[in-house]
Symmetry: D2
Subunit: 329 residues, 4 copies
Amino acid sequence: MPKTDSNLAPDRDEFDRALRRAYSLHRDNDGGKVADYIPELGKAAADDFGLALATVGGKLYTIGEAEVEFTIQSISKAFMFCLAIEIAGHDFVAKRVGIEPSGDPFNAIVFDDQNRPFNPMVNAGAIAIAGIIYKKLGSDSFDFIMERFSWAAGRQLSLNEKVFKSEEQTGHRNRAIAHLLLAAGSMAVKPERALDLYFRQCSISVTAADLARMGATMANMGKNPVTRKSAFDLSAVRSTLAVMFTCGMYDYAGAWAYDVGVPAKSGVGGGIFGVVNRQLGVASYAPRLDAHGNSVRGVAAFETLADEFGLHAFDCTNIGSSYVSSLIR
Amino acid sequence: MPKTDSNLAPDRDEFDRALRRAYSLHRDNDGGKVADYIPELGKAAADDFGLALATVGGKLYTIGEAEVEFTIQSISKAFMFCLAIEIAGHDFVAKRVGIEPSGDPFNAIVFDDQNRPFNPMVNAGAIAIAGIIYKKLGSDSFDFIMERFSWAAGRQLSLNEKVFKSEEQTGHRNRAIAHLLLAAGSMAVKPERALDLYFRQCSISVTAADLARMGATMANMGKNPVTRKSAFDLSAVRSTLAVMFTCGMYDYAGAWAYDVGVPAKSGVGGGIFGVVNRQLGVASYAPRLDAHGNSVRGVAAFETLADEFGLHAFDCTNIGSSYVSSLIR
Amino acid sequence: MPKTDSNLAPDRDEFDRALRRAYSLHRDNDGGKVADYIPELGKAAADDFGLALATVGGKLYTIGEAEVEFTIQSISKAFMFCLAIEIAGHDFVAKRVGIEPSGDPFNAIVFDDQNRPFNPMVNAGAIAIAGIIYKKLGSDSFDFIMERFSWAAGRQLSLNEKVFKSEEQTGHRNRAIAHLLLAAGSMAVKPERALDLYFRQCSISVTAADLARMGATMANMGKNPVTRKSAFDLSAVRSTLAVMFTCGMYDYAGAWAYDVGVPAKSGVGGGIFGVVNRQLGVASYAPRLDAHGNSVRGVAAFETLADEFGLHAFDCTNIGSSYVSSLIR
Amino acid sequence: MPKTDSNLAPDRDEFDRALRRAYSLHRDNDGGKVADYIPELGKAAADDFGLALATVGGKLYTIGEAEVEFTIQSISKAFMFCLAIEIAGHDFVAKRVGIEPSGDPFNAIVFDDQNRPFNPMVNAGAIAIAGIIYKKLGSDSFDFIMERFSWAAGRQLSLNEKVFKSEEQTGHRNRAIAHLLLAAGSMAVKPERALDLYFRQCSISVTAADLARMGATMANMGKNPVTRKSAFDLSAVRSTLAVMFTCGMYDYAGAWAYDVGVPAKSGVGGGIFGVVNRQLGVASYAPRLDAHGNSVRGVAAFETLADEFGLHAFDCTNIGSSYVSSLIR
């Protein structure tokens, strides 16, 4: 049964009905496979399914396991890119990381013709971004990003130490990527520094509700709708949403842009979060992944919700999500 | 000096000022090179520069060489995809052509893991789309697309026979692609049929004003704003805009999504057209191309106009292009 | 039971025993699959197995289905390369076709950094070679190669018309390759001319005995050991053997060089022929192919024979195949 | 002027004349560029040019800077592969490293379809080989290989510490490769162990005379012709020569097999060594490299010497290098 934050209007409305519908439509879909490349991830309850929707007006709607914690994984890449632009500036970032979709899987090791990772959403780009932040903030880096992530979520987040240790021990391919970046001149610091930060950022625990609120913070021009704390820089948000739209869903990005049409980012922990600009943050949690590495139920639920509300960026009949807008205010 | 359609309000307004500004900012940029892979293209006046902006309210604003004819080239791919979905349906099309950005140049011959061209905006995908339309309409195909293109533009368009002959004689790589499609089972008809249609579609003459009106027709849910004729199917328009956004500007698509954020498509004839959903069609003509195959002045002018009006799909402060909207109605 | 040409000494010798051994060791290996990309190939008797060995002294040893006809297919590429060098010269050929192994499958469409096919043993290279021969000999080309192939085999060979028609009708990928070669400037004539010759050369009927004699002709400095007719140019033979050694067995070439160490070429018709310089031609016929496109029993039989006689080019203990040499004279 | 080891017959013979000819033909060729990716390599005297020829009968012929020391670099890969087969066995090695030429440059990071490096002559394969040896011999590994290299050369070789330190500090790409191997399951030990051994093996100082003697040791079934010490295993030598023939000269391997036809290996230090089985070791030293990473004068000198003596493995008129053989005994 859906619930809302206690301090918000409790009446069942359109959003509740939509979440219920998406939830019941897809809860029996048991396609896909829980990620198990690190043992800790394999322990997730495969059948968990949670959905959450947060408005720029500060309301939260959830259903199912929306308060179960899981690791944020690659979803962190979107927030890190946003923070890197704020801290280091567009030009500094652009010299080291591209913004083109590549058609390659997330862990590909190909670089573009300027010898940069294709974009900040593939591992190579994300590790370079971690290097950029470490270059600017040094050993304060992790505290900084944890604070910003927490501001965005509206509560203090924490690190899953077990997952972090696992990532660190098994991340051979990521370690290789970091050395390739060094060889290519795209690694601003010692590879181990960037990798440590990268493994940590991926190991932050969140819930679907957190991700929805983080999305709403982005949708709200970087300000948490409830606390009014500014977690992200306004100008960096637009850039981040653009890259999420073209590169956020691994090599399924084009299909996502086609079917869902909402800037989003997924992680192998089973989460997906999306941003409807100036309106909503939307998030799902369901650990079983498809061949692209995206949550099976999550993708399906986003399709249902996007259809329901006309969220698609290029939907003809709901321009500026005017319908959604009317629900919020 | 900018001008407007004679039957429309002639007062100089915001749009005129913006066009003038973009025009004067970039008219002296003589970077890039006119395409010359076929002799006819090489004859374009390298210094031509025209901009046009058409509203869903039926107004047209232009500046510079906005009435000079050039061949539509790859811009036709966007309209053809839209028509193929209308005629053959999403599923028929999806079996033969993917929708993922590939990171490869427009003339790449790599296929995706389902042995399909990556998307309808690369040559391989566009030739497969031409094959789909020919499969459905046979020898009427070209008349049909010419009629629809003309409805969209609001005037009768014509074929540039010289360019068509040139394309046909020098299109060895495209001919190779057509045979690869046949080998891959993605070519619905004899390769020569699809190629003939493809070479013809690329050789249709348009002006920047035409392209702006064709964009406005798309923005207007497929209906020409002046004639009210329905050139495109409503549901196909959304799909087309999504693919234009992720794949429309060759291997510069990510940067375009980042900097401009408007679904668009460019052609080696020097044209670019963009669509601001439910608001505007925007177009530029300037024959000198950058290394990606995009018009140098065109890209620059779109950046200026997008900034000016907050056209970026993920702009935070102009949600649903509300400012533009206020100018139109 | 092995047999020898009637006009040669009929005594069972070392070669007979070795053939018998290789035959009985591998006749029960029914791994692999008959090629069926064209229906005619699929009709081959899957269980046929023939071996043949011809000496530069003019003797022939055979066992099993060594007189069954099958189409020469890619084995023709080796002879065509040899003839192209004779007719057009090294430089003319080198400008259009490389000589580097590529690690890619036989039907790959990648070209090298000089925009040439990687080598004459992949389809792209072979089609370019056919184009070179056609450029020089025009409509006499097929008669010319048929005569030379026949001289090498010591009997008049013939074309399998059904296979030729099949190849022609289904060769979409090869047709694509020919157009790519044209686009790359590596195609000396109209694509259809080269393709017609290529499809014909692949459709010549041979037996294992023929291939062994053709190999012996190469081993005998280009002269048929029995008829003394010169089928191949001496200097072209060395070049051909070198390319066969590095590129003759598709993407299994390295393993072949490692395990067998004899210049060889295989075809999807089920044949393999090898050349032990100045000593022997060796051939096998067995239609079931492995994943690389090489005859399963053929590869195994060559390994056995190479071991038996120390045929490996870099064998330490049989320098210059001295043991084999002693058997021949 | 050429010279011979003092304890050998001093008469000027065919070999001396051939070396003089090759030397004078190419000494003025100043094409190419000294490798400078590590500063130490850049210090080489660009104009040095030495040639050496050692027979399995124990004679040495040299001309020019044949006693100048330089680092062995990638030439070590051939010897390491030979030793790995001896120590770990064919199967253990084959599971981790392929034997197919790849068409890629030496430092490519692509793996084959079994997730192994393509062959032991590219960096990835060589690092895996170093890992295999370390797996078997642990911290004795370097002493062991130094002993065997020294036995082959017939004198105690030493490590160039400066080059070793440089390699270690700048080998980011090789470090990346080692981590990729670990991720792929092809790295038998901790990456740092394999890398340390790999950087050391590349930093061993040799002269052209050393390399010629090492080649003669291989040609002599693994036994140093003068000391009679067995440096290499007989059965491993054949395998090594086969892989040198198909993969030894980077992405120039096919052209080398075509023009020179002698199993060989080159290094960015400027050396090349070749083996004429059961006859000769041949070596050159000249630091300027071509685009493939091979010594410009070295390649040219080998072509001249191979022509002169009919050394090509598939030469028709000098079967088993019979002419060379007559000069030796």
